[in-house]
């Protein structure tokens, strides 16, 4: 690692081994399913591999019995994009609001914490009951969207608290002293400084929604999202197609993570570059 390695205490080596095992524990099983998703077309859900093929990936997009994976994927992706956008906009706004004292702040804070700790299936259950009583059909873009927001908004809010906690207010004061209007101050000073945190909230919102299962279970209605499709596969079907689906959604998650982290890195670099000029 660094040049002073020879002076490491003995605990360093013991802890390194523990961390290595932890990483193996995190990634080992995932690697097994990625490998098995390339199982030969006569193979099963365990080793040995009978061959190497893309058969199970093809099966995802063609076989009727597997359900409608491509459409479920489109739905999940769109829903996640909506949830991410709403979470970013609404949590940044609420984060700004929480910087001042206002009547009801404590109540709203505890409402958000309560929403965060509520078991997901119960959120789903309550909303489904409500829609049934009102005579409305549950739908992925109404009830499921609302259900997911009860989970992503409190997360977004907590992140904004942490972000604003480290925010240095003197930049804003300087902007005001230099004659910026409150809109200019927000647009050109506050938001750009918060940008990495805001991208983080967006990434959180997107992946929490894209992978959300219990809150969508009773609220998505007849059109499945991807996690519901995966759930149907785990309970009905035990073919490597399930692993192929796992590999595909993991790749998509990784692309989203990669794009977000690159965006954060670009923002940071541009900022430190700007300082040198």
């Amino acid at each position: 690692m660094s040049a002073s390695d020879n002076s490491r205490p003995w605990t360093f080596y013991i802890l390194s081994i523990i961390v290595a095992f932890f990483l193996l524990f995190l990634y080992g099983p995932m690697l097994v399913i990625y490998i098995l998703s390339f199982q030969g077309d006569t193979g099963g859900v365990t080793f040995p591999m009978t061959g190497l093929s893309l058969h199970w990936f093809q099966a995802l997009f063609t076989q009727e019995q597997i359900g409608d994976v491509p459409e479920a994927f489109e739905r999940s992706f769109l829903l996640a994009a909506i949830v991410a956008t709403a979470t970013v906009v609404l949590s940044v706004m609420a984060g700004l609001g929480f910087r001042r004292r206002f009547p009801g702040a404590a109540i709203l804070f505890y409402l958000a914490i309560a929403s965060l700790i509520m078991p997901g299936l119960l959120v789903s259950f309550g909303i489904a009951l409500g829609f049934q009583l009102l005579g409305l059909d549950v739908n992925w873009f109404t009830s499921a969207l609302g259900a997911q927001l009860t989970w992503t908004l409190p997360f977004g809010l907590l992140i904004m608290f942490a972000v604003f906690g480290r925010f240095n207010r003197s930049y804003e004061e300087a902007a005001t002293d230099l004659g910026a209007t409150s809109w200019q101050r927000l647009r050109y000073v506050t938001l750009p400084i918060l940008l990495p945190g805001i991208i983080g909230v967006g990434l959180f919102g997107f992946t929490l929604s894209y992978d959300e299962f219990p809150r969508t279970l009773l609220t998505a209605g007849s059109k499945n999202t991807l996690p519901l499709e995966i759930w149907a596969l785990t309970t009905n079907d035990t073919s490597p197609a399930l692993f192929a689906l796992g590999t595909v959604t993991t790749i998509i998650s990784f692309v989203v993570i990669g794009v977000s982290l690159t965006a954060i890195a670009v923002v940071r670099r541009r900022r430190s570059g700007g300082r040198q000029h």
Binding site: S16, V19, F22, L26, P119
Partner: protein
Amino acid sequence: MKLPTYAVSWLQVGPVALILILFFGLPTLLIAVISVFDYDHGQLFPAFIFDSYRDVFTDAVTVRLYLTTLGFAAVVWTVTFILGFTVSYFLVFHVHSTVWRTVLFLLCSIPFWTSNIIRMIAWIPFLGTNGLFNQVLLKFGVIHQPLEFLLFSNFAVIIAYINLFTLMMMVPIANAMGRIDPRLIEAAWDAGAPRWRIITDIVLPLSKTGIALGSIFVLTQAMGDFYVVKIMSGSQSATVVSALSTEISGLQYPPAAASSVILVLVVTAMVAAILRVVDIRKELAS
């Protein structure tokens, strides 16, 4: 026109408040209302009866469900705390290179961003009777018959929980540890404190916000789970919420609502106990 500052705040927090009230507050109240309703064959009849509660409290199954759920939660909390604390301690205090720390931190947190169901299923070809783990042990002659308890058992449920939830414990702890002033530790070291005293007297107390936040995440996830226990125990074990999900699919809404209310009270009491020890809001903002 100039609005008073609290009104500006209200406008800013308004949408979040509205969504939380509509999709969390009201549905939760509705569950409480339904729990005293009467029902028959999926039909609900407005009433004010406590039959569902009486059934929950008198049924011997309830005690067993809570014991199983709390047992899982206790084991999973203990393991995720020890693991999360150890890994965070290593990343924050032993890895001095920023690049390495970032890389290791990303490696630890990336699985959090992928599907829980997929990460859970991933254990099946690993732990099964013909799974990789058994095959490796057989090959090296450690065992002569495949181990049966690995999959579709409480052991499998706990392994999956630990795999899914450790990051939720680790990230807040690492965040709290990262804010500890390294000079404190140097001072203790210079004053001759042994390593374990530095951990128990400095690192542990100063990470308490992170530990509290992580514990809330892990405990509420473990208490609220139904699908990990269904799949990984092969439907042999049941927790409070997995039993609840069976009642919901059987259209037994009032009993399901009654046991929801009880569970929410239990979970809230646990979280309130944690919040009494640590004021998370104050600590987050500081």
